[in-house]
Amino acid sequence: MASIKLEHINKTYPNGFQAVKDFNLEIGDKEFIIFVGPSGCGKSTTLRMVAGLEDISGGELKIDDKVMNDVEPKDRDIAMVFQNYALYPHMTVYDNMAFGLKLRKTPKAEIDKMVREAARILDLDKLLDRKPKALSGGQRQRVAMGRAIVRDPKVFLMDEPLSNLDAKLRVQMRIEISKIHQRLGATIIYVTHDQTEAMTLGTRIVVMKDGVVQQVDTPQHLYNKPNNLFVAGFIGSPQMNFIDAVVKANGKDVTVKVGDSMLEVPASKAKALIDSGYDGKTVVMGVRPEHVHDSQMFIETSPNSVIEATIRVYELLGAEVYLYFDYAGVQMTARVDPRTTAKTGDTVKFALDMEKTHFFDKESGLTIVN
């Protein structure tokens, strides 16, 4: 397989619009890298530059230390799986996977070997004689992946391959793709706008916004230690709660005024707030829904981090309940146990787990402390 280096990659269109700005990334052999971000952030454009389907305006792309900027897609030793794939309706599974190789005049014996090996990896061996109309959605998706696997590329590039599938099939195929990655031992670059897909599939995730890389990290680090407000809000579902907080230091002790409440900040975070000069200033406090507790035990053990609010919406998801409420002019979400007795219209107390809060600079959005 292969290592990939993107060094100061830029993409500027003729009208001056800069879609990707100073993109730097090193992808190791066998890594499963995810590019994630909102629509228009430059993730697909970056992928297409790696593929050679889009010119690189500036910077260097290297695959296995060879500069690829001016190399045609067919010579880059890559294979692609894109969103709007189609199978050749009149061809069997075998022929669907073999067709690209036949067009490239690959010898028959080699085609047979490649197709059967790909079919084995994808559990399609018993379906080789079937036509697409006799396949399920998941099987068709696997055939589309098989077309890429038979090329035996150094790198697989996938652009939202699951976007056209229904929710249930998407979940199933995520597992399949993960298994395929393990079986192939392949280097994969995967683009998605779905942060859940990103978190479950990637070894590392590149979060992008406005053509700029916001953070490159493992899923766990992105979740626990976001670099800025955008990453904190984008990763995690439901989204992190953000609320303005005024920092008040009293010696080494720090409290934050949130709405009408004064919440005690733990020592480790307090020091960071004081040392960074935020005493008396307004910052943005972030707290994930699962760290907003309505249980009596939490409320009693954390009396200095309690707020009170009226529940606007109660949403039962089976294994958990989401409670939506307004506090200090902000809509917030709590993810609580389904045994909660809270209901819509109730005024309840919530304890915020201050050890798990994040603080962000209000102007720049950068993280002060996680």
């Binding site: 228009g40 297409r48 692609m80 189609a86 009149h90 067709f99 067009l103």
Partner: protein, 303 residues
């Protein structure tokens, strides 16, 4: 000697194409050249006359007279009663793979689909569609063609499509629409790869204007100082603001910034370009003048 070989070659080709054995008699030297020329014409005429792709190329280019159109369409098994949509494909890179085979295989064995090479880098797919065929259906097909060219042929491409043509005479109009959509896409929608003729928006309007009119408008708005290219953050802010219908709250949410940050950016923009895009009139003016500038640059480059 060479002439004899050429003569024999042409006779063999004619036999292959027609199944008829032709013979040339007579010994006049001067006559040989003329005979070869006539045989060449005969081969070409037979091939082009019996070639469906060539016929459809001529139909799309408006080169077939109405009186022959339906007659020849019948000969080539083209159902004149079908509603057709023209998908015009431009390949953006050199290639050494049978692109036509890929395109044909995508739809085979459906009837009413014809893949026509218009040049080495341009293809047309003529597809019979049902009366209920919507723009969404056409868009889906266009994106499918694009993704297949990207992944199977490993080629960058653009796809444009016109409105559906209910009669064969209107195919040339549909083709013209698709090509126009492609050109307008090149000028105004550079990030896109699929262009629909009836969704070109204001791009089509500006394209129809004389360059002089566009220049006068740009001068009216900006005077002699067209603003330097705006930075990415500003451009993204503007585009997102427009996408969210000039709604500040929604835009701030989509940009993951505070409302006040967004207002600050818009006020800064107003100082730079003299237009407050929070105001509908100014937003419209900004949008149009930027497109006019792109159009002027494109036309000047084309010269």
């Amino acid at each position: 000697m060479e002439q004899d070989q050429e003569l024999q070659r042409l006779l063999n080709e004619l036999k292959q194409d027609t199944g008829i054995t032709f013979a040339v008699t007579g010994e006049c030297e001067d006559g040989r050249e003329e005979t070869i020329a006539q045989l060449r014409k005969l081969v070409k005429s037979y091939r082009t006359g019996n070639n469906r792709e060539y016929f459809l190329q001529r139909v799309l280019n408006g080169e077939v007279v109405s009186s022959r159109l339906y007659q020849d369409a019948k000969r080539f098994h083209i159902n004149a009663g079908d509603l057709f949509r023209v998908f015009y494909i431009e390949l953006c890179q050199e290639y050494d793979i049978d692109v036509q085979a890929i395109l044909k295989s995508l739809f085979y064995p459906q009837t009413g689909i014809f893949v026509i090479p218009m040049s080495s880098s341009q293809f047309v797919i003529l597809k019979a569609v049902g009366k209920r065929n919507s723009d969404a259906d056409a868009s889906k097909i266009a994106y499918m063609i694009l993704d297949m060219l990207n992944t199977e042929a490993m080629l960058d491409a653009r796809v444009a499509y016109g409105t559906a043509a209910g009669q064969l005479e209107f195919l040339q109009d549909s083709y013209r629409e698709a090509r126009l959509a492609m050109e307008i896409g090149h000028i105004f929608y550079v990030r896109e790869r699929v262009f629909a003729y009836d969704r070109l928006g204001i791009g089509r309007l500006i394209y129809e204007l004389p360059v002089s009119v566009c220049k006068a408008y740009v001068k009216e708005v900006f005077g002699d100082n067209i603003p330097e290219s705006l930075d990415l953050e500003t451009l993204t802010t503007i585009n997102t603001f427009f996408d969210n219908g000039l709604n500040i709250s929604e835009t701030a949410r989509n940009l993951y910034v505070h409302r006040n940050t967004l207002v600050y950016r818009l006020e800064k923009l107003q100082k730079t370009i003299g237009l407050d895009i929070r105001n509908f009139e100014d937003a419209m003016t900004y949008k149009i003048v930027v497109m006019a500038v792109d159009y002027i640059r494109y036309m000047e480059k084309r010269k």
